[in-house]
Amino acid sequence: MTPELKNHLSEEALDDVLIGLGTAQSHAHLAVCPECRDQVKTFLGDVTLFNAASIAWSKSRLPRPYVSEPRVRVHAAFVGWVVSAAALVVLAFGVWHHRPDTAPRQANSVPSQPTDSEAQIAQDNQLLQAVNAAISPDEASPIEEYKILESSHPYPKAHSKKRMK
């Protein structure tokens, strides 16, 4: 029996081999000891299966829509500037158009009146004069004949004022 096969590798020595820190002595033992070699092989086989399945699973996962943030930031800044500039232009245009339009718009807002002819004006004046003559105070009221106006009404001034109106 060779010295390497006298004892199997200790747990720690086996772990060191798996970690990649095995000594030359450990590797020499593994070269001639099928049992220790099987332990290493089994462990690495399980890890290989795990890695193969897990990476296949990870690749199969549907990625979320990837947001390339730096590009979006550049676009957002650009769009922001454009929108601000457009808003300023619209505002300036509105202010510029607002002032000269104020007077004409007010004038236009009053509906246009049809102009009267000279004959129509003369006819209206005649009518107004006739009305004035009809309500003129020069003509005596029939009530005054009975002299009841001042005695019957307690507030003659107020009453007369109302009537005058």
């Binding site: 747990e11 720690e12 086996l14 772990d15 798996l18 970690i19 990649g20 820190l21 099987d38 332990q39 089994t42 462990f43 399980d46 890890v47 290989t48 299966l49 795990f50 890695n51 193969a52 399945a53 897990s54 990476i55 296949a56 699973w57 990870s58 690749k59 199969s60 996962r61 990625p63 979320r64 990837y66 947001v67 390339s68 943030e69 730096p70």
Partner: protein, 204 residues
């Protein structure tokens, strides 16, 4: 003085091809980093796998994977090229995971809704070329058992185990990325291996 300058130039001329090679390699990786779609295509599945089995939460892993790739893309200028790109990305993924695990938001959602990984589903993805049809059922059982053991490990033990045996990193690389002493990494690995082999090794 002149001799010193000459010897410095000689050293420089000897080192130049190696330096140029390293620079060219770095330039190649940086150009890979410049294209975020390419970065996602090449590394998303691997990072998602690592984070999923490290945290045990598939939904959280999805978020962390995206954060990792975005952070790598934004910080691509800081990639020095002194390790492989996948190692660098794994380091970022670990930092992002730590940030998430520390945040109160994660703890709240973790209590509210744990999105545990469906290991049966995962095992069913075992590629047909990886194992013969006769051994397929047994292989799936071994995968489930290995995952069950990993679930029982501490976060550090599980993460270090995955870094070593899934990401195929050296102990030195793990030590550097995690900021742990090499002996501490070894201790975690020994404990993880002891747990795994005591459960799976008994069936040999």
């Amino acid at each position: 003085m002149a001799t010193a300058t000459l010897s410095a130039l000689r050293i420089a001329s000897v080192q130049r091809p190696r330096l140029e090679s390293a620079m060219a390699q770095r330039a190649g990786v940086i150009s890979e980093l410049d294209d975020i779609d390419e970065l996602v295509r090449l590394h998303q599945a691997r990072i998602r796998r690592f984070v999923t089995f490290s945290t045990g939460d598939a939904d959280l892993a999805e978020t962390i994977t995206q954060d990792t790739l975005l952070r790598a893309y934004r910080g691509r200028e800081s990639f020095r090229g002194d390790c492989s790109l996948s190692t660098w990305l794994t380091g970022i993924a670990i930092n992002v995971t730590r940030d998430h695990l520390r945040s109160g938001r994660y703890k709240f959602w973790k209590h509210l809704k744990a999105t545990a990984l469906d290991v049966h589903e995962m095992a069913s993805f075992l590629p047909s070329e990886a194992v013969s049809p006769e051994r397929r059922v047994l292989a799936k059982e071994r995968i489930k058992e290995l995952y069950a053991v990993l679930e029982g490990l501490s976060y550090n033990q599980r993460t270090i185990f995955l870094m070593k045996f899934s990401e195929e990193m050296s102990v030195d690389e793990i030590s550097e990325i995690l900021g742990m002493a090499v002996n501490t990494v070894r201790t975690h690995l020994h404990r993880a291996l002891k747990a795994v082999r005591s459960k799976l090794g008994a069936k040999i």
